[in-house]
């Protein structure tokens, strides 16, 4: 979509006005600074998704809409988690982070801050594997997606 003030609120407003559901949304400018790319995760029947796509296309600032589910695609989400890490727990958490191929990016004597990237379900799995009482804070970006192979979104 056009990288213009208000474009994001048009998309968000459309979803709330028409009762569609936004699971996550991530947006930032692209290599062309006049354009932003948004990845929006939503759910609905085929009819609902068809309407969502059409309604998004109708927004003047939206340049192109693709449904990544139509083809093979890759999606990734970034999560930062701050956890309690004291005593023997410190080693265990370190091992878990390694298993999930994350990294510890900040350390104090009482806590770790962990960076983890992956599909949303991988991030969910990591949180489940952690002792929930140890989790102090989480922040997630929502998924970003791109087509596999030579499939390129061009405007």
């Amino acid at each position: 979509m056009e990288n213009e003030a208000g474009a994001l609120s048009r998309v968000a407003g459309l979803f709330s006005a028409r009762g569609y559901n936004i699971e996550s949304l991530s947006v930032a400018p692209t290599e062309d600074p006049t354009l932003s790319r948004m990845t929006l995760v939503t759910t609905g029947s085929d009819e609902v998704i068809e309407q969502v796509t059409k309604q998004l296309n109708k927004l003047i600032e939206v340049v192109k809409v693709i449904d990544l589910i139509d083809g093979s695609h890759i999606e990734r989400e970034l999560m930062l988690v701050k956890v309690k890490a004291t005593g023997s727990g410190r080693d265990e958490i370190k091992r878990l982070v390694d298993i999930f191929r994350g990294c510890i990016i900040d350390v104090t004597d009482k806590s770790y801050t962990i960076e983890l990237t992956g599909t949303s379900s991988k991030l969910d799995a990591f949180l489940e594997a952690l002792d929930s009482s140890a989790v102090l804070e989480t922040v997630r970006t929502g998924a970003s997606g791109i087509g596999r192979g030579d499939w390129v979104l061009k405007v």
């Binding site: 056009e2 059409k54 003047i60 600032e61």
Partner: protein, 567 residues
Amino acid sequence: MSVELTGAEITIRCLQEEGVDCIFGYPGGAVLFLYDELFKQDKVRHILVRHEQAAVHAADGYARSSNKVGVALVTSGPGVTNAVTGIATAYMDSIPLVIISGQVPTNAIGLDAFQEVDTVGITRPCVKHNFLVSDVSELATTIKKAFYIASTGRPGPVLVDIPKDVTQQKIAFAYPEKISMRSYNPVIKGNLKQIKKAVELILSAKRPVLYTGGGVILSDAAKLLIELAKILNFPCTNTLMGLGGFPATDKQFIGMLGMHGTYEANMAMQYCDVLIAIGARFDDRVIGNPKHFSNENRKIIHIDIDPSSISKRVKVDIPIVGNVPDVLRELIKFLKSTKEEPDQNALKEWWKQIDLWRERDCLKYDRQSSIIKPQMVVEKLYEVTKGDAFITSDVGQHQMWAAQFYKFDKPRRWINSGGLGTMGFGMPAAMGVQLANPKGKVACITGEASIQMCIQELSTCKQYKLPLKIINLNNRYMGMVRQWQEFFHGNRYAESYMDALPDFIKLAESYGHVGMRIEQPEDVESALKEAFKLKDQLVFLDFITDQTENVFPMVPGGKGLSEMILV
């Protein structure tokens, strides 16, 4: 080196370049520089309304009756919030408007300044698009874009919010001749493969119906629709927004369909085998319960410029996205070049069935009544104006009677708020119609409840000598509310009685207009004749009508089209 102009000068120059001859507005702090420039020129005429809602309705009526973009100018804050009802009305009916609103200076935005409101935020869900002009260098291009977006594709209102300091800044003026936007390219031509498929289906039809809506009016496709219907000899029904798209006096016309549509139109719609929907959107007031509608087996062709209107409420078999006239031209070309035609015997049987439904005479009412029947007033209005008037309406029973009993043979003659259902629309819209058609006969069919929602515009009509004929069907009730309360709420008429009504005659006279009260059926025709003889005067005709009359047929909410309540 071109001369530098201020933002205010540029705005007015842009309007001139767009050929705008008339705008509707109300001044205020944030738009004073714009008004100053309006004052200094005479190409763009400004009509001063008495409330911003009326400015937008008037621009709307102007646009609907002329196929030009309507323009309104309002100030920031309350100027904009007052205009919102008008903007939403135009949005729901896809009317091309450009609304220019003043905004507090850019350095005051966000600081809760006097008369500040987030105009772009407030209007976002009810415009086709809106802009905040933050620099004078963007002003001319933005206004060009606004007119382009408003009038192309599926039309709609576009708002341009201009901060006061932008109207003072100076820059060299050049109005772009053309505009192209990578993110906005409305489809015009329909897909030929789809059109061919549609032709095959049309040729196989045994019980066809043409169902056409506001899209035919907005795209000026009425002549092509008639040509198509005549080639095929198919029955045609119009939606409330589509009236006048097909001549109501033609024998192929089976009336309006929907909640208060005719028995024959609704039955034909329900039991057809091929439905050709043109510029219509299967909304809840048209097909009733979509599940009930889908119980019958039929194939649907849907022609519309807006892809999101297709398969929204009803799944269709052959969608054709495109500008209605372009698609109809292609359809007609194919039909003329083929030697095949639909099964004529089947078509004859179908017409026989439709004529049987017609015999039900679903719009009958007591013509011998000693109290004035509202339907009779509309019928007499049709006779007296020879069907040649522009009719605006407000919202409620009177609107439905106007739609049922005034036979519109031409497009852009029936002007009403179909989508949003805005009471108060009728009189200001009629002002716009009259200004776009100075020689036209313009009547506003209204009720004593609706008319009071914008009654202040009697003053505007006086100032600009607009000789409207106000047909007030006065039954001392919010009639449609009363009807629903009678049918569905055990006759408990909660707050629907209009008490403490003004003396409309004196009220009209106080504004310098002519008022007439008509209480006897035998006086209806002569009063109307007399009113239309007063060519230069607004005449307020207060018809005291039957309080208990209801609109029939009626498809109750949630019911199917064939489940009508009949009189």
